[in-house]
C-alpha cells in the first residue's frame, strides 16, 4: 500500500479513536431510581389523649348557623375551633384529619334563598358527548383539523366557478358555509395543511386560506362554592380538566377510611352532593357487612365522606362544591370505627379487596407509627398488580416529639407519601416530613384566613356530624387527610387519560412534574414539591 494512503488511514483511525474515548457512557443502565430513604425505627406514641379546651355544643352550633354574617348568603361561621387528636398505642391507626370548622352550613337549602342553577348539567354516562369531552381540551391536542382548510374566494364568483377553482388547485369542497362566505376544502393526501394554506394563498382568486383551527372549552365548574375551593386552584385543576375531564367511570378509586355517605340505608343517607357520583360495591371491615356507611370518626366528623368529596364530589351540578376526578368511580371501604380507630389487619384486608375488585387507585388518609408486615404485603400485592397507593404523611409535626419520618403506610416505598401545604404553598404546621415524603398537596390550615375571603383556609367539601347522618354541611377542614385525596384524584385522571398500568411510571411522573418548593431538589419538608395537575397531565418533554 502506498505510503500516502497508509498515512491517511492512520490519521483517520487516530481521529475516530480519540472521539470514542471522549464520548460519554450511556447512563440509562446506571440510573438510580429515586429512593424513599430508610424506613427508620418505629416511634413510640404517648398514650395520652390530647385535646384543646374549646367550647363545643351542638345546640350552640345550630344557633350560630342561623346568624347572618356580614350579609353572606352562606353563613359560614368560624369562631369556634376544635382540634382533637386521639392516639392509640402500638399497631393501630388514627385519623389525620386534624381540625374542622364550625358551625357548618346546611347543604340543602338556605332560608329565603334559591340555590343558583348550573348552566348545563353533567352529561349522563351513556351520552356520546361524554366520551367526546373526555380527553379533548385546549392543552396538548390538535391545533387544527387535519386534511381540511378554510378558504375564502373573492366576491363575484359563482358557485360553479368556486368549485372549479378548488378542483383546479387539487381540493374538493366539503362544505359551503350557509351563514358566512368561506368554504371548507378537503386537500389532497399528498399535501399537509400548512402546504395547502400556502398553495391556496398565492392564488389570485383566494382572499385568504387558513387551517380550520380547533376551539376548546375552558372548564370551570358551576358549583356555587367552587370559588372557595382555593386548594383546587393551587394545583392548576382547571387546566388539568382541560386535558382530562375528571377521569372516567372505568377508573375505580378505593377510599379506605371511615366509610362514605354513599347510600340511603337504615338511618344513613347519601350525601346530596354525592348523588351524581358513581359507586361500586365496597365492604365494611369493621362491622363485616356490605354497607360501608360513614359513622363518623372520633369526633363524629364524616371523615371518609369528606375525603371522598375531594376525589369525586359531584361536580357542575349547581350544588355545593366540586371534586377532582368527578367522573371516576368510588369504592368505599370502611376500616375506621366511630372512634376513628382501625387495625392494620383490616387495612390489609381492604387493600387486597380493592385490588381484587378492580381498583386502580387506593387512598389511605390514615396512619400509625408502627410498621405491619400484613399490611406491607397487601400493599406489595396491590402494587405488583398495577394499583397506585396514595397515603397521608401524618399530622404530628407540631407535637412535642415530632416523628422523624412520615407515618405508615405512607412510609412504605410502594406508597406515595403526601404531605400538606397551606394557602401560601408553605408546608402546613402539622404536616409530617422526612426522607420518605414524596410530594405535598393542599391540606389547608384551619387556624388562618390568608386569602381574606372570610373563611378559614381549609379544604372545603360536604360531610356530616354524627349522629345526624341525614344532615349534611360544607366543612372547611385541614390535615394531610385532605392532601392525599388531591393526589389520588389527579392520578385517576392520569390513568384515564393515558391508561398507564405501571405504578412506578405514575410515581415518577408525579415526582418529576411537581413544583419544587423549599430547598432545591428533594427535601424532607416538601419531598419533590407541590403536585400540579396540568403539568402532570402534560407529561415530560426534553427540558420541560
Amino acid at each position: 500500500m502506498p505510503k500516502r494512503n497508509r498515512s491517511i488511514i492512520l490519521i483517520f483511525s487516530l481521529i475516530v479513536s480519540l472521539l470514542f474515548l471522549i464520548a460519554p457512557v450511556n447512563r440509562a443502565q446506571n440510573r438510580r431510581q429515586p429512593e424513599k430513604g430508610s424506613k427508620g425505627s418505629p416511634v413510640l406514641l404517648e398514650e395520652t389523649l390530647r385535646s384543646r379546651q374549646l367550647v363545643y355544643s351542638r345546640w350552640f352550633l345550630r344557633a350560630l348557623d342561623g346568624l347572618p354574617i356580614g350579609g353572606s348568603p352562606m353563613r359560614l361561621n368560624f369562631f369556634l375551633l376544635r382540634r382533637g387528636l386521639d392516639f392509640r398505642p402500638v399497631v393501630s391507626f388514627s385519623l389525620h384529619n386534624r381540625t374542622y370548622s364550625s358551625p357548618p352550613l346546611r347543604g340543602d337549602s338556605r332560608q329565603g334563598e334559591r340555590l343558583p342553577q348550573a348552566d348545563d348539567s353533567l352529561p349522563p354516562p351513556d351520552n356520546p358527548e361524554f366520551s367526546i369531552r373526555r380527553g379533548i381540551g385546549k392543552l396538548g391536542q390538535l391545533k387544527y383539523v387535519p386534511g381540511v382548510i378554510v378558504v375564502k374566494f373573492r366576491e363575484g364568483l359563482t358557485v360553479g366557478e368556486v368549485r372549479e377553482r378548488a378542483k383546479s388547485l387539487g381540493g374538493r369542497i366539503l362544505q359551503s358555509s350557509r351563514f358566512s362566505d368561506f368554504e371548507l376544502i378537503e386537500i389532497p393526501e399528498t399535501m399537509t395543511v400548512p402546504q395547502a394554506v400556502e398553495f391556496f394563498s398565492i392564488e389570485p382568486d383566494v382572499v385568504y386560506a387558513e387551517p380550520n383551527y380547533y376551539r376548546y372549552s375552558t372548564f370551570r365548574p358551576s358549583d356555587p362554592y367552587y370559588s372557595l375551593q382555593w386548594h383546587f386552584q393551587q394545583i392548576d385543576m382547571e387546566d388539568g380538566w382541560d386535558i382530562n375531564f375528571g377521569a372516567d367511570p372505568s377508573v375505580i378509586v378505593a377510599v379506605i377510611d371511615s366509610g362514605v355517605a354513599f347510600e340511603d340505608y337504615k338511618g344513613f343517607r347519601q350525601a346530596p352532593d354525592l348523588e351524581g357520583t358513581r359507586f361500586v360495591s365496597g365492604y365494611d371491615f369493621v362491622d363485616d357487612d356490605h354497607h360501608p356507611n360513614d359513622e363518623g370518626a372520633g369526633d363524629g366528623f364524616g371523615h371518609g365522606t369528606w375525603v371522598t368529596g375531594v376525589i369525586a364530589q359531584t361536580t357542575n351540578n349547581g350544588l355545593g362544591v366540586s371534586g377532582i376526578a368527578f367522573n371516576a368511580t368510588i369504592m368505599p371501604l370502611r376500616v375506621l370505627d366511630a372512634t376513628g380507630t382501625g387495625t392494620a389487619a383490616d387495612v390489609a384486608e381492604a387493600i387486597r379487596f380493592a385490588t381484587l375488585n378492580g381498583a386502580r387507585v387506593i387512598n389511605l388518609s390514615l396512619g400509625g407509627e408502627e410498621e405491619a408486615q400484613a399490611e406491607h404485603e397487601a400493599i406489595q400485592f396491590a402494587y405488583s398488580n398495577g394499583v397506585v397507593l396514595v397515603a397521608a404523611s401524618g399530622n404530628e409535626r407540631d407535637e412535642p416529639e415530632p416523628p422523624s419520618d412520615v407515618c405508615y403506610p405512607a412510609r412504605y416505598k410502594e406508597v406515595l407519601a403526601v404531605g400538606a401545604t397551606d394557602y401560601l404553598k408553605k408546608r402546613a404546621y402539622y404536616s409530617n416530613g422526612g426522607p420518605s415524603l414524596d410530594v405535598v398537596s393542599p391540606g389547608g390550615d384551619i387556624t388562618a384566613d390568608r386569602n381574606d375571603d372570610g373563611y378559614a383556609d381549609g379544604v372545603l367539601q360536604q360531610s356530616f356530624l354524627a349522629p345526624e347522618y341525614d344532615e349534611f354541611y360544607y366543612f372547611f377542614a385541614s390535615g394531610t387527610s385532605g392532601a392525599s385525596p388531591h393526589v389520588a384524584g389527579i392520578v385517576a385522571m392520569l390513568i384515564s387519560q393515558y391508561r398507564i398500568t405501571d405504578p412506578e411510571v405514575i410515581y415518577d411522573a408525579i415526582r418529576f412534574t411537581a413544583v419544587d418548593l423549599g430547598p432545591p431538589g428533594k427535601d424532607n419538608g416538601y419531598g419533590w414539591g407541590l403536585v400540579n395537575a396540568r403539568d402532570l397531565l402534560l407529561g415530560l418533554g426534553i427540558n420541560r
Binding site: S7, I15, G140, Q141, V505, D508, G541, I542, N543, R544
Partner: protein
Amino acid sequence: MKKGVLIAVAIVLLSAPSSLLWGQEKGIIRGVAMEGRVGFFCPMQFADSFQAVFDSRGGLVFGAGLRVELPKGIYVEGVLDYFGKEGYRVYVSGTKVVRTDIDTSISIVPLTFTGGYRFKLKPSVIPYIGGGFGRYYYRQKDIATELRGESSFKGFSGYHLLGGIEFRGDKPLSFAGELRWNTVAQAIGEGGVSKYYGEDNIGGISFSLKVFLRLK
C-alpha cells in the same frame, strides 16, 4: 490546561516534517471557500432523553459556512448549522417510556468558529483537523413551553473537535467527509426527561458530507 494543549498542538505542527506542510505560497489568505453540509447528528450527550422523546438515535443536520485558508496549512472557518426533531411528550420510569399524544419539538442552531490544520499529503486528498467554540441556540417548542413563555431560542456556549478528509480536483468544487464532536453543557436538565435522566448537555457526534466552492 486548555492553553497548554493549544501550545502543544502548535509546537507539533510547527515541528512537523516539511513534506506535510504547505509550500512557499505568497499572501496571507491562500484560499476562500463557501461550504455547505448535510449530515447526521447523534446526540450522544443526551441520548436517553432523546431516545425517550423522539424514539430515534439522531437526525439530519444542515449547515453552511465560510472557510479561509491561511499560510502553513492553517485555516479558519465559520459555520451555521440547523438541527430539528419532532416527537411526543412522554412519561418515563427507568427504561420504560409511555408516550402521550402531545407533540413536542426541539431545534438546535449552532454558530461555530473553527481553527484547524490541513495536511497536504497530495493535492487531491487533504486530511484536516480542527477545534473551536460556538454559540448553540436551543429551543423546545410545545404546549408546556408556550404556557411558560419559554418557546424562544436560548443560547449556550459550547466547544467542538473535528476531523475530515477533503477531496479536491481541478474544479472549484471539492467534497469532504467530516466527523465532528461537540459539547454544550448546562443547556438542559432543568426539568422534563433530561432532569429525570440527569443529562444537561446537548452535544454529540455528527458525520457530514461537505461541499466546498472555492472563491479564491
